[in-house]
Symmetry: D2
Subunit: 377 residues, 4 copies
């Protein structure tokens, strides 16, 4: 039996490979207390069962995330399925029976940096796309912004950023699906939108954390979604660079794509707790949410985060900062690590394919919201 | 220079290959006066221009179809683009300049019987699909019905038939897209629908006309969409067989997929002219049309056929017969041979890809209409 | 239970669908006594067994072909596998147990006319390929010749014709593989050959028989491989047209691709029985066969047809006519309907993929033979 | 203008981005003097020309490699083409004109670690393949050995290792092609070989150097192909682990896959300079080389390295050590970074596709050599 994680977004420590179950621990995000993302390969004998225990599950960032969680697994690194697990409040146990000599196991289907670069290379081949490096991360990777449509003539501006929390890989699967829909010449919603809207898309807000196999932070241990009031090039260049560009361009809709460890639903969180939150904010949220709910049975509004009281918002959170700064619709979209309990898939749970589809369906609420803004609805 | 059409849905006659322009005529549907579908291959010298004239264009079934029409062309039988044409009320002229030794030219991108069989073979691999031969056409081909979902437990039933008029190949591209969406495990709208709805889909209502290269009729010259009151196994077995099954199963929504030669828009025609047309009919039409309009900028309600006065409907038309027989929503969906003038594509015009996308988007109005029926909307 | 064959190359007659086993008969080639090709779809209940009997197997063209023969089957029309059968000298019995609602059964994996047209369309996209219609078959289909390489500068000429006997579909799978290898820019053998060799390839010598589901003849019942001395446009235009072009171009190697019903081996038959057969003929055959044997373990020289005595060759056979006319190497390549008994594949038997690979490997004996001709070997 | 290399195998330093030409330098392999591999992305304005200079080209490991060298470039990271360059003995100059917002430039088309893992995952899905981690590199990556065939029953053993020098990425493209051919069920040469031969394949001998963007060394600066007499887990675990396994298994043929910077040809280097080199060695080399030359016009024997005199071989080189240790055929296969001058491709030069094809063609000399060993030739 051999376990390895020396690859893109790999993260596991082998505590005891000779015990039964085999004892593992998730590595902690650099200079941080957060951890929950894991990704490793187990090599063994075909046909044999390997009981595995994540010994430090109970102290992970979101222990509730382990309740009813099922582990993501793949033999071919392409098709990911789920394996049952048991959580006792302390450790996470699951057993792998090998059909092939080795299997990949992860908190969610990974989206690698190589795939990220492939996505950018594909997108730039469309003449409507501008790909631009805003600057570098602390590890020296590119912070890339895609500008889609004509920024000079567009009437409306929509921002989408994803994966501030790098372990939430579904956020980049979502962006991949979104770009496919938006650049599909046969998609009338996309073509219609691009007639007078420009999209600013940051497919990966946290390259270093993604490659390092972090859950929530960048290379310096910064939780980027707590850096929006005063980001710095020293600690949080990822936010600094994007925020500067936002200030320069402005925007009408701000979407920040995330995954939630605990809740088995897709939902949005808004900026109801910011100073100056007003009827316009509320109305746009309603239009957006109702439209999304109509467009996709995978989206719902019943389950979600508790609302903030007036003025209680943490203004260092991207969505709150954007909603306040630009006095317009700003939403955090949360997808589950587990599944959508309203429409469960026992084989795959929530998946890359479903993340991509949810992204294709977001064109509808974007269109409805922009039409509402324009008074044409 | 050589012109050939001895293949699936091929149709052209060479009147004079030595004239300038080369004179062609479209073959007439067997035992019928209808013609407008053409499909042929032209072989010549790379780099040379070939002026072509369809000499009998002016007497085709829908002369208005030639106005602003652009010819469909393909070198590889996969990617289809448009070539400008001129119509003078009598003949249709267009010129082909060859980039490769031969080019396919057609009224619309063909959907072959081989592809039809591939589609059925693919669909049946999904365990939710039943594929069944209802009987045979006059040329002996199978009339296949796909039943998707659980007919015994389903609360609602939706029928979709396509290509009564065989030259309207976009109708089967539409069905292909519809089946892809409906059977996509990552599509929540499809999964949600299939929880309590059964779909009855006839991908091709007119196999013989399709293979023969007809515009509007079956092998015996019957316009199937004028046979619904008293079809017979001798003259119109295609309608007879499907109609019998409809009578046995009933249904809540009936969709008949077509193409329109003249109008450059996607639209539906309803059964407002049938006896007994009532508020329920009207309300369902409204719900469906408004939802479709929201879902797809390629669908609209401004342009379409003139409405029938009360009782003036031709009851031999499938939609009218269904709307009357089942006292529920029955619609003819019309896609353009030309383009959607609201969202034109100068390279491809209306296309297989756009037909497929319009089909994916029809899940939305179906869901909204069924929800309305259930009072949950 | 339903059986249908109204599609490209379909051939079966249902004698008694209520008997046990279900009684079938293969249709006879039009105006001919030959039959052995079958191709049909069986629709039934998933999980149920369907015993089938081909009642006229014993009088087919090659009864020995049924000995140890296993039926080709496919659910998706793409992947073909084998089903055991029993032959008692009179009837062929086999049983199908359905995993899906319908299954395709055939004498060998079919190669449709649509795929033929796709192959030509793909080939012509390579600028080294000329695609040309030599004339029409009796049913009006195109007889297409592909000229690959520069006919004006080439030092050597190689002819390949395939599927004179239309039921030998492996012959066109072979041509597809050959063209893929020959036009592959990364294949040095192909690039090297094309520097000074021109290839004349007729992918399908018998379009009408192929579409009609014949075993051995064209639309008029002519066995094309018995027409080479005096073909006519009335009876055998397929041979007439190709033979005229051969006479105009000449050639250094002539390859005629076939399938053999009885022998479970790949082998070639030469023209040792023609008048004027000489040492050059024999030497070239030896070079070719030894090289092919080295290149592919699927080719062998032990098993094959009995040799003709001097002067006993049937000069109406294509290979004999070519060998005599052009005083050079002319070979009939035979692939098995069954399997290569030296390297059996219990799942697929002889297959499209193996036919294609055998074609890729024929570049080697072609190169060796041409080098021998040039004295450079 | 922006240049980035913070990705798999990235390597460039920007010396002066404001000069004309832009001044670059290749980074030196860690703890080493070697450098020549580069790989970076240039982002700029579409339509604009960017003159680039590699200022330290003249002191690279193989300055002759720059003569007539053309730079590899790709917009989509999939299709790689060549750009002309000028070398004056000191610096390498080339100019990029952007068709898209960014372009990748590399010494040769890269083969990433992600692709390496995909290759292993694909290979292990074949039941004839055992995938096994022999141990770890200094950076902690897996050293993976694929065992293909039945090691217990096989009569012969063939070893293939690749990419000891990590910048020679063509070596892993070669292995990818080799595995595709060897595991192709329709390939009779592969099926025949696997009846009585077992293959031991190490697709990447130098994972750390590959990911780091090195030319010739591992993470510790060791040139692995100079470590075979006394490798250590501290300095060269990659060689240590593989060598130990070789000693345990033995072997009949040893192939070490490389790229050569200077010579525009494919060729092999043998172990003629080792003590004990004898007629058996020489005979096997001859059989192998002659067979390979026949199989592939991309292989030749005229150009290559000067022969070592008797006893003058460097026994730390893998091929020499293997040839001596196992007293059998051991060869270094060299592919060009430039092109095969005998069969040049002006668009792509030597390429991944051609490396893969050369690997498919190596089955032939392997079979011929094993047959010779068995006396059956
Ligand atoms: Ca989050
Ligand atoms: Ca119509
Ligand atoms: Ca034959
Ligand atoms: Ca080397």
């Amino acid at each position: 039996m051999h376990i390895s994680s020396a690859f893109d977004s790999g993260n596991i420590k082998v505590i005891n490979k000779d015990s039964n179950p085999i004892e593992l621990a998730i590595g902690i995000d650099n200079q941080s207390d957060f951890y929950q993302w894991f990704h490793f390969r187990l090599e063994g004998e075909v046909g044999k069962q390997y009981p595995l225990r994540i010994t430090n599950a109970g102290k992970a960032a979101y222990p509730a995330g382990w309740e009813n969680y099922r582990v993501c697994a793949s033999y071919d690194r392409h098709n990911w399925f789920r394996i049952d697990a048991q959580y006792d409040g302390n450790v996470l146990d699951f057993t792998v029976e090998l059909d092939q000599p080795s299997i990949y196991l992860a908190y969610f289907a990974p989206f690698s940096w190589e795939r990220h670069l492939d996505l950018l290379a594909w997108a730039q081949s469309d003449e409507r796309v501008q790909a631009e490096t805003l600057g570098l991360t602390l590890d020296g990777r590119d912070m890339t912004l895609l500008t889609i449509g004509n920024a000079e003539t567009a009437k409306r501006k929509v921002w989408m950023i994803a994966r501030q929390h790098p372990g939430e890989s579904m956020a980049e699967w979502f962006v991949e699906g979104f770009l496919e829909a938006l650049l599909d010449d046969a998609n009338p919603a996309a073509r219609s939108l691009l007639e007078n809207t420009v999209f600013y898309v940051v497919p990966n807000m946290n390259p270093d954390g993604s490659v390092r196999g972090h859950l929530r932070t960048n290379a310096a241990g910064a939780n980027l979604n707590r850096e929006w009031q005063s980001p710095s090039m020293e600690r949080s260049p990822e936010v600094y660079l994007v925020r500067e560009r936002m200030l320069a361009t402005g925007g009408d809709i701000f979407l920040d794509i995330h995954g939630d460890e605990a809740l088995p639903y897709n939902f949005v969180a808004a900026c109801e707790g910011i100073p100056g939150y007003d009827e316009k904010h509320a109305a746009l949220e309603n239009v957006f949410k109702q439209a999304y709910e109509k467009a996709s049975p995978d989206f719902q509004t019943e389950h979600g985060y508790p609302l903030h009281g007036p003025g209680e918002a943490n203004m260092n959170v991207g969505t709150n900062w954007c909603g306040h700064q630009f006095r317009t619709l700003a939403l955090t979209l949360e997808m589950p690590f587990k599944d959508n309990a309203d429409l469960p898939d026992t084989v795959e749970g929530w998946s890359p394919a479903r993340s991509r589809q949810l992204a294709k369906d977001i064109l509808f609420p974007i269109r409805e919201t922009l039409a509402y803004m324009d008074g044409s609805n």
